[in-house]
């Protein structure tokens, strides 16, 4: 047997063995959590498992191997547990385990500061195992089981610090939304399986779904996967739950678990549903994506809690990913597979990119949290002085997420723009109007993202410290720093060598797109990215970086050599204003004020009020900002009120006498029997 084949048949059992190892570590952690070296052991083994999984998945994807399957006698007795490794699963395994490995590496240092390790250590490896199993599942039962396992283990991590009331509320909301999402997915799989109950993915793929049911499956999948990913208006739990967990878990939830949700959407809509995509599906997903992108970043701009800002910003990036997916659906519905390949590549590239920089930013926030104990930006500032390396890594992440060349975020947004620019060929009129509007929303969200991260980095790391905690910060430990710089380096690499990433994505794209993919990029001169030949639009991150470095360094060298290199320190000028107090600096709230006034007054009905005491009164003046969350107030609050009102209306049913209960039972029986009679 040749080595390659033996490896291929071996890789799936090995891939399945590692999540089992992670589960075993989770069980072991229950005992080990109290010991001082327990954290190191658990995170070390998790790191090892993730790296091996990453290597195996990378090998599968890059070697372009055929899908392998495996059935274990677990789960439903007549079904068994089916597992399958194909290009799509391999790509998402890479995303998940890259994030998992880096989070584990970070936690080797960060986990030492955990107050309640017994609430984190057992669930962290279990969470990783759950996400891996979702990707490998090949039947509906295994998929949903792993999905719920992932949800519940992450819920336990969200509740790690449950004494804080905000966290308990976040956990409750998360649980409700996770149950709702799984219910929607359960119904979707029920429709896909059909009356014969073919729950294996192979059977679902082979069967056909009528157009009406297919549309229903799409909507249910949007509800189920979309609520996990954070599509507006299902995002409400996300910005509460993600920040509540310890920072390395926040990185996993925001950077990685949302990608598992995207995987669920892609698997069901692009793979299991098969051919019959209708054009309005693409329109629906596209519109949702555009709204999600802009609303997500506007929400993020209004936050001054660093972790919550990042969590809201995840919502924006999910919107960008869904814009790409919606375009791909619209193209596929019109048999334009070459264009669909571009849109899919853009979406998948952004999946990878977002997992890199969002993990980086959450881990950086974790480092800040360890150093200062603060995540409120109004009490931070000036951290670039005590924490120069963390600041550098956070800066790279901020620039990457703001889609600045030559980093990676720009490449995926550029590809999405190119996909939008080839879409006037779409024949449907609604799409013709929708696509440029979504393009404008995407452009707006990209520009607002830059504003958001000038605020996030500038207020946290620059300026002068706004509290004693920020002034007394020290640089974080080496494990954490190495995790940060692994991610920062990957952000840069994916930005300057995008052609290689696009080639790596090609098997996934052709799997989802009826065999069509983008042409090979690795043999282009200077590794230039050329998505479509006859469009002639090209981008070369490597050369942009090279030119910028050359011109920047030449300028610095010449100026220092020929003109002057003298520098002197002095007090800040500030137009001659003696500005001794750090409270005079711009704050997060004041930085966002112009945006709040321009956009927030429409979206959030933002109102500002200054309360000046009358002359002679020595009380300080007060400034008040009121924001209203339109999604919560219009969508969720009425539902919550209705549930409360109904349950209080029926509350008296708890205090009846036994006679009344008996008559209620009798009445119910009569009604049911009558129903039976009338039904026949």
């Amino acid at each position: 047997m040749p080595a390659g084949v033996r490896f291929a048949t071996m890789s799936l059992p090995l891939l399945l063995g590692l999540p089992m190892l992670l589960l075993a570590v989770g069980v072991y952690a229950i005992a080990a959590a109290q010991r001082p070296e327990g954290g190191r052991q658990v995170y070390g083994i998790a790191l090892f498992a993730c790296v091996v999984l990453l290597a195996l998945a990378l090998g599968h994807l890059l070697a372009g191997r055929a899908p392998t399957t495996l059935t274990l006698p677990l789960g439903l007795p007549w079904l068994g547990a089916h597992f399958r490794l194909d290009a799509l699963a391999a790509f998402f395994l890479i995303v998940v385990n890259l994030g998992g490995a880096v989070a584990s590496l970070f936690a080797l240092g960060y986990g030492q500061h955990e107050r309640a390790p017994e609430r984190v250590l057992p669930f962290f490896p279990a969470f990783l195992a759950g996400m891996n199993l979702v990707l490998l599942a090949d039947d509906a039962f295994t998929f949903l089981f792993a999905w719920e396992f992932m949800s519940l283990s992450s819920w336990a991590l969200v509740m790690a610090h449950h004494q804080e009331p905000a966290n308990a509320r976040a956990g409750y909301l998360y649980l409700v939304m996770a149950c709702f999402g799984t219910l929607a997915l359960l119904l979707a799989f029920g429709l896909l399986a059909g009356p014969d109950g073919g729950y294996g993915f192979a059977a679902i793929r082979a069967g056909t779904t009528s157009p009406g049911f297919a549309a229903l499956v799409l909507v249910l999948t949007l509800l189920g996967a979309g609520s996990k990913a954070g599509l507006v208006p299902l995002h409400v739990w996300l910005p509460l739950a993600h920040p509540a967990a310890p920072s390395h878990v926040s990185a996993l939830m925001s950077g990685v678990m949302t990608k598992v949700a995207v995987y669920g959407f892609i698997r069901i809509v692009f793979d299991l549903l098969g051919e019959p995509a209708l054009w309005w599906w693409g329109g629906l997903v596209l519109a949702l994506g555009g709204i999600t992108a802009v609303l997500g970043v506007l929400y993020a701009l209004m936050q001054h809690d660093l972790k919550r800002l990042l969590a809201y910003h995840t919502v924006e990036n999910i919107g960008i990913i869904f814009i790409g997916l919606g375009l791909a659906l619209a193209f596929q519905a019109n048999q334009m597979y070459a264009s669909a390949a571009l849109a899919l590549t853009a979406a998948l590239f952004h999946v990878l990119n977002h997992s890199l920089f969002k993990s980086l930013l959450f881990l950086g926030t974790g480092a800040v949290l360890t150093a200062t104990g603060e995540r409120d930006m109004e009490r931070l500032g000036g951290l670039i002085h005590p924490m120069p390396w963390t600041a550098l890594a956070f800066l790279i992440g901020s620039a990457a997420i703001s889609a600045l060349p030559p980093l990676n975020g720009f490449v995926s947004e550029w590809l999405t723009f190119q996909a939008i620019l080839i879409s006037p060929e779409l024949p449907q009129w609604l799409l013709k109007f929708l696509v440029p509007a979504v393009g404008a929303l995407l452009a707006l969200s990209a520009a607002l993202a830059a504003t958001c991260f000038v605020k996030a980095f500038g207020i946290t790391f620059l300026g002068r410290p706004r509290s004693p905690a920020a002034a007394g910060a020290v640089e974080t430990d080496r494990y954490s720093l190495s995790a940060l710089f692994v991610l920062a380096a990957l952000c840069l690499l994916a930005g300057i060598l995008p052609g290689l990433v696009v080639d790596g994505l090609a098997p996934v794209v052709s799997l989802l797109n009826g065999g069509a993919r983008l042409m090979a990029q690795h043999d282009r001169p200077w590794l230039t990215l050329v998505p479509v030949v006859d469009v002639k639009s090209t981008y070369n991150g490597l050369l942009v970086l090279l030119f910028m470095t050359l011109s920047g360094f030449t300028a610095a060298f010449l100026i220092h050599r020929l003109a002057s290199n003298a520098a002197r320190r002095g007090p800040a000028w500030d137009c001659g204003f003696p500005d001794a107090n750090p409270a005079f600096q711009y704050t997060a709230g004041s930085f966002a004020q112009p945006i709040r006034r321009v956009f927030g007054s429409i979206v959030f009905q933002a109102r500002e009020r200054v309360m000046m005491p009358p002359p002679g009164d020595l009380r300080p003046a007060r400034f008040e900002v009121k924001l209203r969350d339109p999604v919560w107030e219009r969508g969720y609050a009425p539902v919550a009120h209705a549930v409360v009102a109904l349950s209080s209306r029926f509350n008296y049913l708890q205090y009846l006498t036994i006679r009344r209960y008996l008559s209620l039972v009798f009445g119910a029986l009569v009604v049911l029997l009558l129903g039976m009679v009338l039904w026949r």
Binding site: G381, G382, I384, A403, P405, F410, W414, F417, I420, L421, P424, K432, F433, P436, G439, A440, L444, A446, A447, L448, A450, T451, V454, G458, L462, G463, R464, T528, V535, K536, S537, T538, Y539, N540, V544, F547, M548, T549, G552, F553, A555, A563, S564, A566, A567, R568, R569, P571, A572, D574, C575, D579, Q585, Y586, F591, A592, P594, I595, R597, V598
Partner: protein
Amino acid sequence: MALIADYLVQGCQMLLILLLAPLLTGWVRAVKARLLRRRGPSVLQPYRDLSKLLRKEVVLADSASWLFRVAPYLIFAALWVAAALVPTFASGLLFSWTADLIAIVALLGTARFFLALAGLDVGTSFGGIGSSREMMIASLAEPAMLMMVFTLSLLAGTTELSSVARFMLTAEVGLRVSLALALLALVMVAIAENARIPVDNPATHLELTMVHEAMVLEYSGRHLALIELSASLKLLLYLSLLGCIFAPWGMATAGAGPVAYLGGAAIYVAKLALGGLLLALFETSIAKMRVFRVDQFLGAALMLGLLGALLLFVSRSL
């Protein structure tokens, strides 16, 4: 041999824009002074300012970090590369495919990102107000610019500038509503992005709009020189962009030979002079607006750009 010549021409373009940028700023200032019936400094004054600033020592605020010292070089590099990627005297140069118009817009974004961070670095209220407002203006100007790019790309079938310029010279372009809208949007964005009246005042930081000049208030010496040079480069970039897209006449093609290049350069300088003249005329004939009028101004630009793109999505002949 041909390759070396190509490298040389590309290098000439980079040097040309670097040398012309302060002259353009000086020219606009001189014309404005004449229009205000002042004598004004010579058009060469920006060069003198730059060389003086370059030789002075830098005074850094106590709270300034390494970012504050690196940012001027980064901003300069990003803007120089972006400006050098816009075709000036010739189209289709050696590295013209490195970045398309979307990437050039994003490079401007990179420069702006670091400039805004530098404004926040020292931790003064002036820097903060400048950064915050600059980002508010950019958050509307950048999408407006991208909508203009959409319009162009839908017509020309590409976002690469040399190909766009070549396409604009062909007969099939004609007069189009969408192009008029795109031109209007680009001019409005250019005014806002270059901190010009009526959005901002390049001559002072002591006004109620306080945007660009407030942001760079703490810079001195060689750092300030680089920031000023970058601002000049940005103005040059926008005028070259307007010239290359909406007035591509007289541009040499790649490999046309030195005579054609010289002719192209002469025409390019003439275009810049005309653009600077119009800018100065416009600036002297209009009053500055309140800072919270700027969003309406730029919102109009965004809507014009979107309208242009929408028209083309509906019909390629509009």
